[in-house]
Symmetry: C2
Subunit: 438 residues, 2 copies
């Protein structure tokens, strides 16, 4: 096994591209001692390669603006696609696969939306496609499910898998500030992008749970079937009331499977403070998995950043390099299964059962509670506790909060619609799902 | 890849043996869908096989008291050694390896003490030796280090990796009870063994950190060089004072590596409540790793039990089965490295630097603080805070607690020895290491 050289082409030299090269070149000696292999970055392609000079770029043989220079290089065994996005990234990945090269990527958006096509192509061509870096930065989770926990029927995933949204919610929780204010500050500090839509509206989280649940449930989950709700409507008052109830609001990715079907969803979620996920703060990520054999495991770490994500890209590269050296092809299927499960039981959000937090702003007058209670009851919703706050000085309206027992999404939506039409309610009612033992 | 059959022999049908068979047979369809392979338990060997009858034992071809019936069966590809202990287990493992069979085991004691010989034999014979189940029950951690984090120079490990000790400490902390009382109750409940020495004296934890640190540091760490101190001397008063300081006492396995050397140790440790390990309670295990690229990750779950541990054994078996099906041998070295590091820098406990908690029981008289302070100073120990408690009613002595800045082990030991000889101290001083940001 000693002495073999594996050559890598890196497309995209941004934060993750640089982090990957930093791992591969910076730790080349460590990697050589572990693997017995020389894993060499032969080339870097980046549209702005002229302006990218550092201690590593000087060490590579090919620096180019044209990714095809790497894809077409017969010496290169593995292509790392690290530009992100859909168009060019897809072209490069499929181009590399078609040339028989193994591919490693951190591109969850592309794989969530075009996965079926790309995974199919990789299997057809018999190459490996590593995407550990696409979820949870450096936290090992994808291969953990595909390999370590392969003896399990995975039944549940709960994840905090977007660092930006978690950073904003954490600061809102600790500082009592409004979403807009914290977002602006996060943008100034570089924790949120100029266009934060993917992060704060839950889309990035949905991309990631799409991949995780596809592996967990042995089925390609269609991205457009995933319910997605972001955090931009979360108000300080809801965070505050949740706190009073011994709970925290987190943007969770949730996937569940039971005998009657599957569900995959992303939304702000109220969880009890006793749940370990409630203490996952700031830019950190964590994924809890429940398997029928292993029970619940939690996997925690930095969910973003060049070094952490680069560690995962480099881990995938090492994994593939070891396969090449050992003379085996793609020993584990790309999503970890050979024969998929039926998707027929994928529940819509209306059919998904959970407990709910419902906050109304109501006129502080007699009969309101009876009226609202009647609507909840007529929609088959059973209330576990109700909380009416004192009127603030000078205020005319009071928040009225209900915690419900388990009910289906369409019940709560129907009730909310009726309640919003009452003349005693002055704002659209706020509905937040509640998960976990309380 | 479809349709290949891999045959397994299971030696030892106790809790873990049964858990493994339950995973492999109970989830055979799941595993087949994931791998395309039929992984078949061909035989079970157990000295008490006559008395072991359940829904799975009826399904295996060979039931025997003689492990050699499985080891010598040419059809069996993988042997799972799940009897534990040193003598017979070692004979079976080396016997199987010598027959060219792959081996999976949960036997940390054997591998920690006789690892060098067994690992060497496995590499010589070109077979795989899986031992994921030996640390942290079902939590993926060994292969996480060998593969996922292979691009990292792993610098630190902090682990709670013995469920019995953690269960006892958790109950002592929550209920204020003494060690002996909680141990007795744990024994009655089946959480602690009749002879609890391995668990409560830290030996089992040391076996596990021996394996983890060998992988992390790319060096076979000699078990007998690991400092081990258990929890049987932990007193409720120390737990109580730690609480007042915003801290928790946990039995930690600690391994660190820097430019000047390595250290591997097991001892009760005071950690701040802000550290995630402080909330790992009961029989749960957790391992925090710090890699130079990935940063700190945490891996949490059930550290024991038949199902969880069986999940890890079955995961190793699936991994090896996929290697066999893909026609590659042992693609990753048994400890995750080809070329080992120098061991010359392994620090003794006297040379290891940390902060300390030191509790004395002293006569409540003038001059005591000055006397003790003088001894600490003359041993080069700098105190970060001191705490003297009120005398309890009727009591003659008071606890006097010092928290020190970083100092070497031999300084604190020398100071403790001097202090214990003072006529104002009435008990041997209690010294507990302190780790983590406060």
């Amino acid at each position: 096994m000693d002495g073999k050289t594996i050559k890598i082409g890196v497309i995209g030299y941004g934060v993750v591209g640089r982090g990957t090269v930093e791992s591969l070149i910076g730790n080349a000696a460590v990697i050589r001692d572990k693997t017995g292999l020389d894993i060499v970055v032969k080339g870097i392609a980046d549209l702005n390669i002229d302006r990218k000079n550092d201690e590593y770029t000087d060490l590579v043989e090919i620096k180019t603006k044209n990714a095809d220079d790497l894809i077409n290089d017969p010496e290169i065994d593995i292509i790392a696609e690290l530009i992100g996005g859909y168009g060019a990234a897809k072209k490069f990945i499929t181009g590399a696969i078609n040339k028989g090269k193994h591919v490693v990527t951190a591109n969850k958006a592309l794989l969530a939306v075009h996965g079926r096509e790309i995974f199919g192509l990789a299997e057809e061509k018999g190459v490996s496609l590593g995407f550990e870096a696409s979820v949870g930065g450096g936290i090992p989770i994808i291969r953990v499910m595909k390999e370590d926990l392969a003896a399990n029927n995975i039944q549940e995933i709960y994840g905090i898998i977007n660092g930006t949204a978690n950073y904003i919610l954490t600061r809102m929780t600790k500082e009592g500030k409004a979403f807009d204010e914290v977002l602006r500050d996060a943008q100034e500090k570089g924790y949120a992008e100029a266009d934060p839509t993917f992060d704060v509206e839950g889309i990035d989280t949905a991309h990631k749970i799409c991949l995780l649940s596809s592996i967990a449930f042995s089925a390609v989950i269609p991205f457009d079937k995933i319910f997605v709700e972001g955090i931009s409507n979360i108000k300080p008052v809801d965070i505050e009331i949740a706190k009073e109830l011994g709970c925290t609001i987190k943007l969770l990715a949730i996937a569940k499977k039971d005998d009657s079907g599957m569900e995959v969803r992303v939304h702000p979620t109220i969880i009890p403070d006793s749940n370990m996920l409630s203490s996952v703060d700031g830019v950190f990520n964590a994924v809890c998995l429940t398997g029928d054999k292993v029970g619940t495991t939690m996997h925690y770490g930095r969910g973003a950043g060049g070094s952490a994500t680069g560690s995962a890209v480099a881990g995938d590269i090492i994994n593939i390099a070891r396969n090449i050296a050992a003379g085996c092809g793609s020993r584990v299927p790309v999503l970890g299964f050979v024969k998929g499960s039926e998707l027929s039981g994928l529940r819509s959000i209306e059919d998904i059962t959970s407990c709910f937090y419902m906050r109304l702003m109501v006129v502080d007058a007699p009969g309101v509670l009876a009226k609202v209670g009647g609507i909840l009851a007529s929609n088959g919703i059973s209330v576990s506790s109700a909380l009416q706050r004192e009127k603030e000085q000078g205020g005319e309206y009071v928040p009225l909060v209900f915690m419900t027992h388990e009910t289906k999404g369409h019940n709560i939506m129907a009730a909310a619609e009726e309640i919003d039409e009452l003349d005693v309610t002055v704002e659209k009612s706020v509905v937040i799902r509640v998960e976990g033992e309380r």
